[in-house]
Every structure is written in C-alpha cells, then in structure tokens.
Symmetry: C2
Subunit: 352 residues, 2 copies
C-alpha cells in the first residue's frame, strides 16, 4: 500500500503503460513508442499491431514521462489578472483559439491582482516546463516587482522558455503586443474636445500600472495641446475594477467636482462609474458625458451605449501567442495595436 503524498495531491491508480502495449503487440517498447509517435518508419504490420493493442488496452501515454524523457512539452501558460473580467476573457479566448490550432494545452492563471501570486505562478509554470509564458495585463512600474519578475523570467528564457506579454512592461525585454494607449487616449480626448467639452475628469486605476499611466498621459497631453487643463482634484484613482470605477466616481462627486465629461481609463471602470453617476441622479450624457477604453463585449449596448476606444482584444490574444512561438529573431519584437475611437451615446455635447 502506497503512502499518500502529503500536500501534493492524490496518487493515481495504475495505468496502462507503453510496456504493456508493447508486450501485447509482441514488440519492444522502443518500437511501440516509434509506432505510436510516427517518429520513425516502422514495419507496417508491426505498426498496426501496436496501434490495435494501444486501442484495445485504452492506452493513454503519460505526458509527464514523455516530457521528462524528451524534454519537450506542449503546454503554454497564461497569466492574467482575472478571467472573470471581460477584457482578459476576450484576450484569453484569442489565445485559446490559437493554441487549439497547434494542439497546445493552456494553463490559465488568475492573479486576482496580487503581485506575489503572479510571481508564484511564473514559478509554477517554470516547474511545468511550459513552452511559453504569456503575461496578459499591464506591468507595474515598481522596481521591486520588476526585479523579482525579471529574475523569474530571465532564467526561464535562458533555458529556452518563451515569454510574451500584452501591454507595456518597462524593464522586460520580451516580445510584446502593445496597445497604443497613449495615442488612443489622445485621440479620444480630441474627439471629446470636438464635442465641445472643456471640463474633464479622469477616473484612473493604480498609477503604477503602465496602462493607466499611458492612458492618463495621452489624455492629458491632448487636452494640454488644446489649452485645456486637468487639475489634480479632477483625477481620481480607484481600483482597476468595476467597483473601483464606482468608488472613484463617488469620490469625484464628493469633492464637489462637476466636469461635463468623465473619462474612465477602462470600460470596466466606466461601467462602475455609470452606475454611480446614475445613483446620484446624474443622467448620462445629459448631465455628464462618460467614456471608457477597450470596447469590451456589451458596452456597445449599455444604457446608454458607451463611447470608448476599441481594441481588437481577441486578435491581440492570438498575436501574443504567435509572437511567443515564432522563430526567435535576434531581438524582441513589439507589435503595436491601434485603438479606434468609437463615439456612442454616452457622450454628447456639454449642456452647461
């Protein structure tokens, strides 16, 4: 009787092994392996016997043994903040579609925004000898965090692991799919200015996130170009979630600010803000205009439909996998993705 492994999960029962298949087919394990994998020519009748035996015994190769023996592997790891968030779900969906086409298995992890968990997952994925690790989501502009991530990733890459990310990571020299956050936010600001707005507020996420920093900077710069300011009291930081958007909007109003237009740096936050504004009796866009960023599913059919900057999320997912798996060039590649301003009913002309 085997002793149960402590803390590492339960053991499995006995399995049909290659050895068993080989024996019932009357060949050596080596031949059985070759017949099954098609790596080498095998006499036709033997091949057939092996395949039949495998089928009859219900043989399922042990992927761990294969990985160990061949040091090959067909899984890729994807780390995002939360699959429950439509932004990540859309990108993940693109990754899965592309992975399926190459018979890759995807290990998906949600960090729930805990940096420590992110590091832990990278480490687990390294232990799995994942063929590639994909980081979906903004990097933190935090030296300590960057250092520890870098120190996990560098040895992984040195050993042949591939890494690619979606969004900007300051210090990571890896292939990246880079939404043009700055340009997109700038274009959005100009569109909003064209509507006549001059009084803006921004609901931001944690400022250490590169995505937040870039969108805010782009938005602010475009306003400045038009001679429009964005005073500090009109910039409210909240969590990068729906509730964060809600809270930020509440805080904005609490400060007595009454901009004619509010920009939430992500659609998810915008959705929260929309609820908050409505609860406070403000009509969108009659009393205040609201815009987001990303164009996640459904925001186009909200009450009212949300103005935003559209990103091709699913394709970004496909692309980040492709980048990771492509033949290694000398240097890392950055694929820039344009965002397209989509004006919808949540923004109108200022009334005041």
């Amino acid at each position: 009787m085997q002793q149960t492994a402590v803390g590492r999960g339960r053991e499995h029962g006995p399995h049909v092994t290659l050895h068993a298949v080989a024996r019932t087919a009357g060949v050596s394990p080596a031949t059985a392996s070759r017949a099954l994998n098609g790596t080498t020519r095998v006499r036709e009748d033997l091949r057939r016997r092996v395949l039949e035996a495998a089928d009859r015994l219900g043989y399922i190769p042990n992927a761990h043994a294969q990985a160990l023996a061949s040091s090959s592997n067909n899984t890729v790891g994807v780390i995002c903040h939360d699959v429950g968030d439509p932004y990540f779900a859309a990108i993940a969906s693109g990754v899965m579609a592309a992975a399926a086409e190459q018979d890759l298995l995807v290990m998906l992890a949600s960090t729930f925004r805990a940096p420590a968990r992110e590091i832990a997952y990278v480490s687990m994925l390294r232990a799995q000898r994942a063929r590639a690790i994909l980081l979906i989501g903004s990097g933190f502009q935090d030296p300590a965090w960057e250092r520890s991530l870098e120190s996990e990733l560098a040895p992984y890459m040195r050993d042949g692991g591939r890494v690619a990310v979606v969004s900007r990571h300051r210090s990571l020299r890896v292939d990246t799919v880079q939404p043009e956050n700055r340009a997109g936010a700038g274009a959005l600001a100009r569109a909003l200015l064209s509507l006549g707005h001059r009084e803006f507020a921004v609901l931001t996420g944690p400022e250490r996130l590169t995505t937040v920093a870039d969108r805010l900077a782009g938005f602010r710069a475009a306003l400045a170009d038009a001679g429009v300011g964005l005073p500090p009291e009109r910039i409210v930081e909240g969590a990068f979630t729906r509730d964060g958007g809600h809270a930020a909007a509440v805080e904005l109003l609490r400060r007595g600010q009454r901009p004619t237009c509010v920009f939430a740096v992500t659609d998810v936050m915008a959705v929260g803000a929309l609820g908050a504004l409505r609860e406070r009796g403000l009509r969108v866009p009659d009393d205040v205009s609201l815009a987001g960023f990303d164009d996640i599913p459904l925001v186009g059919e909200l009450t009212p439909p949300l103005t935003t900057v559209a990103l091709p999320l699913t394709r970004m997912g496909r692309d980040v996998l492709a980048l990771a798996l492509r033949e290694r060039g000398a240097r890392s590649r950055v694929e820039r993705v344009r965002g397209e301003v989509v004006l919808r009913a949540s923004t109108g002309r200022p009334t005041a």
Copy 2:
C-alpha cells in the same frame, strides 16, 4: 547536439537539478528532496544548507519528474465551450479562485463547441494525469457523444481521477452542480404571465443541449399550466451565441410572428436578439418584451436592462471544484442551484 523533437514542441535547455543542489549542499539527493519538501524531519543545519543551495542555484523542481516519481499531481483541467463567453468566464473565475486557495494549477480548454475537441481535451487531460476534470456546460443529448465521453471518463475515474460537471449530463454518473433550469424558466414564465403576456415566443439553442431542453420545457409547462400555448412557429432555434440569438430573432420576425414577449434561453442569445429587434425598428419593451437567463455581468445595465433568471455563476465555479475534490462518498452528488427571477426594464406589460 540534440535533435529537435518532431511535432511535440521545442526542447528546453539544461536545468539546475536536485542532484546539483544536493552536491553543493554536500548531502544526498534523497536528503535534498526531503529538505525541500518537508516530508520528513531533516537535521536543521542540513536543511538550511539545502535551502540555501537551492536558492543560490535558482533551483526549480521539474514538475514532470515529481509527478512521475510520486504519481501525484496538482493540476486540474477545466473544459468549457468558450472562455470568451461571459457565462463561462464567470464560472471559470470561480474555479480559479478556489484553485488558487489550494495551490492547484488550472488547465483551461475551450472547445468552441466542437464535440470532437471536447473528447480530445479530456484525453489530453488524462495524459497530464490531471487530478480532476471539470466539464462546464450543458451536455448533449446524443447517444454517440455520450458514449464517447463516457468511455474517456470512465477509465479516468477508475484510475482515481475526479470528474465533476456544471449542468446536466444525462448519462454521466458524476458529481454535478445543477442549475434548476426547468424551475427557473417556469418561474420566469409565471412572472411574465403576471405582467399580462399571453403571446410568447422562445429563442432556443440547439435542442440537443440539456440546458436548452430543460429551460424550454420548464417555460412551456408553466405557460400550459396557465392555459397558454406555445405554437411551433413561435419557437426558433439558433446557435448558442450572440449571433445565434440575433439570427433567431430575425427568423422569428421573418415568419411574421408578433409575440408580445420573447424569451431567449440564455442572456448571450438575448443580447443578440435585442440588437436584431432594435434593427427591425422594434422597441423593447414598448413593442415587445424580452427576457433571458443566467444574469451574466452587464446585462443589468443594458439598454434596456435585461429581465433574466439569475444564477450565482462564480459560486457555481467554486462549488464544482469543491465537489470534484471532496472526499469520495459512495455515490455521486448533485448540488442543485436555484435561479432567481429578476424583472428589469426589458419586460413590461403587453401593449397590443
């Protein structure tokens, strides 16, 4: 120079092994293993030396070797139709949260609704010796499909693998989290009848899906109890997607049907239907009421907010993992989940 493995991915470079750690710590691999895993008491100074060596060398255990040697494993597989679909994303998110608490790695696969791909993934997960396999999503009422799934799952379970599902699978004797689709749809029907509706139409998905069958049956039965019929021409089948809902609504109108209330069997389909109705110049709920099922994120803030039957999706995700991992009882358990009717602005009183 090693030869590249054909078709199974790229090989990794050399890694720091347990052996190396043991040597630099001046102990045997056995002791190093024990020190690292804490499975047995190890003299304190040796333990420290091992840990230091491991840290200094940047040792990452090879999970495949561990799995092979200990026949233990810490990954669970989740198979759903499409993570990009908010319904699955919400459930998956619950699974991930629960998995994180137990240091489990999640392999997530999207079948994109191809039954063959579902079978293939189960097989891959078996090869990975996943500790548990979770099937998220309705079963097909199709003997051939049921048989092939069963034949993949049965040996897996016999060998100690755990299986649990969300939604009804006719022939699978496994732990299941079972939304009360029939009862929920019935309650919804009664609520709509109370509003005064008598002319209904249903936008269904593929009828072989148990979820579709149950919701349709529950809805129809409740209408019948009230003496209200549901003629065949008022039942339109579409794909289980947003586009499917759109197409079904279009088809309904093409048939010249003008019900006062339309029930789409999922929110995702309802969203598509909403767009179709609007494009045809029909106002919701003024010209026609519309209801869905699931209460996926954001449908509460659509234009107009969608009436639906709310399911605790994230919790269902947590629960299905818990079911799979719990101590095995004699027989499989079914956890029923109630749906709650939520009346919102997409449904009103009939105007006709």
